[in-house]
Structures are given as structure tokens and as C-alpha cells.
């Protein structure tokens, strides 16, 4: 079977949805953060697939930007989660109850 553009897009869409479900349903901040990264990788995969099949290099350039920016985001995000852990000794979202209606 030949692997076409649609196969890549389907895998990327599945990855995206798994990531989204993870963000919504998981209770651990680290896992939620991993799921967010998974969503970004789904977008990257879409970009690379389109780039490859349309013969346009722009998509791959975009992926480099996404990877770089995601690295910066992870650096700040993990620092925040570590700071929260130091204060609460947990990384569960159920502990985030100070700000409530």
C-alpha cells in the first residue's frame, strides 16, 4: 500500500485529538503539558507532510520555528510547575483551588 498525504494527515489529526483529550481529562500537570506538546507535534507533522507532498519548503521552515518556540515554552512552563510543586508538594490540578468563584 502506498502511503499518501491523507495517511499523514490522519495520523496527525489523531495525535492532535489524543493530545486534546489528554489536556482535558488528565489531572497531572506534567502529563497535561506533555499532551500539549503532542498537539504541537501533530501540527508539525501536518506541516511536514504538506511540505513534502506540495514541494514547498515553507512548511518545514515553520516547523523549525514551532520547535524552537516550544522549547522556550517548555523551559518557562516547567519552571512554573516546579515552583508550584515546591509550594504544594503536588502537581495535580485538583490542588489548584485558591482562585475560585
Amino acid at each position: 500500500m502506498e502511503i499518501t498525504l491523507n495517511h499523514y494527515l490522519a495520523v496527525a489529526a489523531v495525535l492532535f485529538v489524543i493530545g486534546l483529550m489528554g489536556v482535558i481529562m488528565r489531572r497531572n500537570l506534567l502529563i497535561i503539558y506533555m499532551s500539549l506538546e503532542m498537539m504541537l507535534q501533530a501540527a508539525n507533522l501536518t506541516f511536514v507532510a504538506f511540505s513534502r507532498f506540495d514541494n514547498l519548503v515553507d512548511g518545514q521552515v515553520f516547523v523549525f520555528f514551532v520547535i524552537t518556540v516550544a522549547a522556550a515554552e517548555v523551559a518557562v512552563g516547567l519552571a512554573l510547575i516546579v515552583a508550584l510543586y515546591r509550594l504544594r508538594q503536588t502537581t495535580s490540578v485538583d490542588a489548584l483551588t485558591t482562585l475560585k468563584f
Binding site: 503539558y33 508539525n44 506541516f47 514547498l56 518557562v76 468563584f101
Partner: protein, 516 residues
């Protein structure tokens, strides 16, 4: 890189470069020369002033440069000045109003980076630059929101903003990937000419995902859940920055994408229903959910969601052609854009007044609930008057500037035949009256528990008086805003007439003539 710096287009990019370089110099200076936070803040303000002068000197003739990456036009100029003013107020607040001991020098430097990101957003003509600029804004905001990292509330706000900000970025990138895949480009001025006979389904889906991403930024319902929590947990100056700067950043993105890249008939048919639903829900939920709030920062958080709804109505009214509605006059389209700019200016004045007052009161009152304000007019007449006037302006009662903005939105909705939105705007404005009058009632018609006067420092008095004066001036004399924002229009018509230096390869009919 060298030819970029030598090019005669450099002046259009100079404000951004200047602020970036200045922020880095200050970071190094902070590390090596042990500036006090006050010195750092003053230096940062000086840098912003130079950048603002530089921006004001540029003309606003539309021009696309650097291979279509950047665009310069009236809107870019207006928003650049707007963001510089916001950043100056934020840095001043962080230094003067909030205790400087609590915050290090970075608290004045990080907003500079955010401002660069916001200014780049205003002149982005390509999803690539838009994404990088947006992330610069978002990542620096993560740090600023959670700046008081020994406080649980601040950290919680930071983490919530982190997760939902990351989610919005993921939606945005996925959407851009689909648009790129179908259309083969990420440039806005090429995209607008690429849709002949409707938007392909996948690109439409991509556009909706992008709108979801932007919806998070401007706190559009149902993507608003982060706003009240983050507003409450962040330092006051940063809450004001989020509420004004980040919202304006999201709006210029929305203008560039919805009116620019997808401004044709096909694109409008996709985003029009999405934004209409968003506007209706924001107007209803933002204003109704604010009514039971007792915490002032949460109340302003919900009211900010409501204001997004008002501005969205103006954005919809600025569209070239709406489905099932008569094709508008050019003047009506311009009124829509003017309404967005005017609304943002009046919103800036009122919101910053509110948050400066709240920041001044934070250490002097036992808490920031409505009942803590009781009898404030006897303890601090200036603060009470400033807060009351700001709330009246936000509520849109004449003759303050907020009324001009609300009236323009109503006018736009009426002219374009958006009667459902018009009815909701009026309903929301009335509902808003109720919760804006609550704090005013407490300040003026309740007896204080503690009668000691609250002393306000001289700089704070001057800035607050200036903001009040501007609110009243622009209310009585709306032309003063009009001359400020004259020419603050997107370059979309200019693009169609081929006046841009780097016009897209295929000439196309103008947006206004694109009828089949």
C-alpha cells in the same frame, strides 16, 4: 541579514529593534551594574519614549516589506503607539504604585519583550511572524503573571494561563498548518487573492482553529475560562497589561486575518458565524456573570470578557461584505474599524485607571472586595472619584469617553443591519450598569469602618488626574480621539489597488468589488 539592515525599510522596523536591543541591554545592565529597580524602570521608560517618537515620525502609507513578512500601514502605526503607551503605564505602575522592593528589575524589563511581540503582531503579514510574535507575548506573560512565585494564587494563575495559552497556541498552529497545506502560502496578502469561488473546506477548518486560538487571547466566550482566575492572581499592573495589551494584540491579529487574509466573500462566510456566536456569548456571559462577583479584580475580569463582545461586534461591522446582508458603503466599513480603535483607546484609559486605583488600595485595604470600598470617598476622594469615573466610562454612560465607544458600536451594528447583535449590545450595556454601579454605591453611599485618610503619592496623583482628564476630554470632544486614530485603517483596500510596493504576483479585484 546585512542587506536587510542596509535597506531603506529599516525605519519601519526601528521601533521594534530599538525596544528589543534596549531590553537586552537593560538585562545585562541589571546583571552587571546592579541598577536599582527604580533606575531600571526609568531607563525602560526612556527607551519606550524614544521608540514612540520614532514610530510617530513614520508616515502611514501602506507598505509590505521583507519578502512579505511585515506590513506597515495606519493600523500598524496606531497599534504600535497603543502598545508603547500600554507598556509605559505597566512599567510605571510596577515601579511606582506597587512596592518596588517586592519586584526585581526584570519586572520592568520583561514588559519590553512583551511589547516587542505585540508590536510585531501589529505588523505581521505572515502566519510565521504572527506565530513567533504571539509566542513572544505569551511566554513573557507566563513569567509576568506568576511573578510573585512565593504566593499560591500567583502560581495558580500562572499555571492556568500556561496550560490554556499552550492550548491556544496548539490550535493556532494546527489551523495554520491546514491553511498552508491547502493554499500553499502563509502570507496574508497572497491568501486574500487566493480564494476564487469560496474557501476550500480544509482551509475553512484551519481558519476556525485559528479563530479558536485567537479567541483564547481576547477572552472570547467559550474560550474565556482562564480570564477571571488569571486576572485575580496576577499582579495588578500585569492584569491591566493582560486586559488591555493582550486583548488589543489578539484584536489586531483578528483584524489582519479576518479582514485581511480572509476578508473576501468566501472567507467572511466562514468567520462571520463563528465571531457572531462568540460576540453574542461574550456579551451575555461576560456581563451577566459579572453581576454576582464580589472581588473587584474578578468583576473587572468578567467585564473584560463583555468588552470583548462589544469590540467583536465592531470587528464584524468592519467586514467588506456579510452573507445575506446588503453590501455596505465604504464609509460603513471604515466606521467599523474606527469603532475598534476608539473602543480600545477608551478601554485603555478606563481600565488602567481602575487597576492603578486597585494597586494603590491593595496594601491599604484589608481586601479587594466590593464591601472593602465602603466610604472610600471620605478616605481618599481622588481614588474614589477616579475609580467611579472609570467605571462610569466602562459602563458607557455619557459624557465620558466610554459612551463614545459604545455609541460607535451601536452605530456600526445599525448601519450594517446586524439587528440581533444590536439588541444584545443594548441589553448587555444595561446589564453592565448594574454591576458597575455596585462599587460606586459602596464608595459614596456607605459609611467607612476606618476613617484614616489614604495618602496617595504625588506621581500617582498626577497620572490619575491625567487619565481622568483624558477620559472626560475624549468624552466631551470625541474629535480628539478621531485625530489620534486618523489613518488607522488596514491596508486591505490599498493592497487591492496595487499601491503596495511588493504587490502579489496576480492582480485581483478589490475586496469591495469582489461580487460574482
Amino acid at each position: 541579514m546585512l542587506h536587510l539592515l542596509n535597506s531603506n525599510l529599516l525605519p519601519y522596523f526601528a521601533p521594534e529593534l530599538l525596544v528589543t536591543v534596549w531590553a537586552m541591554v537593560l538585562l545585562l545592565g541589571d546583571a552587571f551594574f546592579e541598577f536599582t529597580p527604580r533606575q531600571t524602570a526609568n531607563l525602560a521608560l526612556a527607551g519606550l519614549a524614544v521608540a514612540a517618537v520614532e514610530t510617530l515620525l513614520l508616515d502611514s502609507a501602506p507598505i509590505v516589506f521583507w519578502n512579505g513578512m511585515c506590513i506597515w500601514d495606519g493600523s500598524a502605526k496606531f497599534f504600535d503607539i497603543f502598545f508603547l503607551a500600554v507598556a509605559a503605564l505597566v512599567i510605571w505602575m510596577g515601579d511606582e504604585v506597587q512596592a518596588p522592593v517586592e519586584y526585581g528589575g526584570e519586572f520592568a524589563i520583561l514588559p519590553l519583550f512583551t511589547t516587542v511581540g505585540l508590536m510585531l503582531l501589529a505588523s505581521a503579514n505572515d502566519f510565521m511572524l504572527l506565530f513567533v510574535a504571539l509566542e513572544l507575548v505569551t511566554i513573557s506573560f507566563y513569567i509576568l503573571v506568576a511573578y510573585r512565585r512565593r504566593t499560591l494564587a500567583a502560581l495558580e494563575a500562572g499555571v492556568k494561563y500556561l496550560i490554556l495559552g499552550g492550548l491556544s497556541s496548539a490550535f493556532l498552529v494546527m489551523g495554520v498548518a491546514y491553511i498552508f497545506g491547502v493554499m500553499g502560502t502563509t502570507r496574508f496578502d497572497v491568501l486574500v487573492n487566493a480564494f476564487h469561488g469560496g474557501v476550500p473546506v480544509m482551509a475553512a477548518f484551519g481558519l476556525i482553529l485559528v479563530l479558536v486560538g485567537i479567541g483564547f487571547k481576547i477572552a472570547m466566550v467559550p474560550f474565556h475560562v482562564w480570564a477571571p482566575d488569571v486576572y485575580e492572581g496576577a499582579p495588578n499592573s500585569i492584569t491591566a497589561f493582560l486586559s488591555v495589551g493582550s486583548k488589543a494584540g489578539g484584536l489586531i491579529m483578528l483584524l489582519r486575518i479576518a479582514l485581511g487574509a480572509f476578508g473576501g466573500d468566501g472567507g467572511t462566510a466562514v468567520w462571520y458565524p463563528v465571531l457572531t456566536v462568540g460576540a453574542i456569548l461574550s456579551l451575555l456571559l461576560g456581563n451577566l456573570a459579572a453581576i454576582p462577583q464580589r472581588n473587584l479584580k474578578r468583576l473587572l475580569g468578567y467585564s473584560s470578557i463583555g468588552h470583548s463582545g462589544f469590540i467583536l461586534v465592531a470587528v464584524i461591522g468592519a467586514a467588506a461584505a456579510l452573507p445575506h446582508l446588503p453590501r455596505p458603503q465604504m464609509a460603513d466599513i471604515n466606521t467599523g474599524q474606527v469603532a475598534v480603535s476608539v473602543y480600545l483607546v477608551t478601554y485603555l484609559l478606563a481600565t488602567f485607571t481602575c487597576f492603578i486605583v486597585l494597586a494603590l488600595l491593595r496594601t491599604r485595604l484589608p481586601g479587594l472586595e466590593i464591601h472593602h470600598l465602603a466610604g472610600l470617598s471620605q478616605r481618599a476622594p481622588l481614588l474614589a472619584a477616579a475609580f467611579a469615573l472609570a467605571l462610569i466610562s466602562l459602563a458607557g454612560i455619557p459624557p465620558l469617553s466610554g459612551f463614545v465607544a459604545k455609541a460607535l458600536v451601536v452605530l456600526v451594528a445599525w448601519n450594517r443591519g446586524l439587528y440581533v447583535l444590536l439588541a444584545l449590545v443594548l441589553f448587555a450595556a444595561v446589564a453592565a450598569l448594574y454591576y458597575y454601579l455596585g462599587p460606586i454605591k459602596a464608595m459614596y453611599w456607605s459609611e467607612p469602618l476606618d476613617r484614616t485618610p489614604i495618602i496617595v503619592s504625588r506621581p500617582a496623583t498626577v497620572v490619575l488626574s491625567l487619565l481622568i482628564a483624558l477620559m472626560i476630554l475624549t468624552g466631551f470632544w470625541p474629535q480628539s480621539i478621531a485625530c489620534l486614530i486618523s489613518g488607522a485603517t488596514l491596508a486591505r483596500e490599498g493592497a487591492a489597488q496595487g499601491t503596495l510596493t511588493a504587490a502579489p504576483p496576480t492582480p485581483s479585484p478589490s475586496v469591495a468589488q469582489a461580487t460574482p
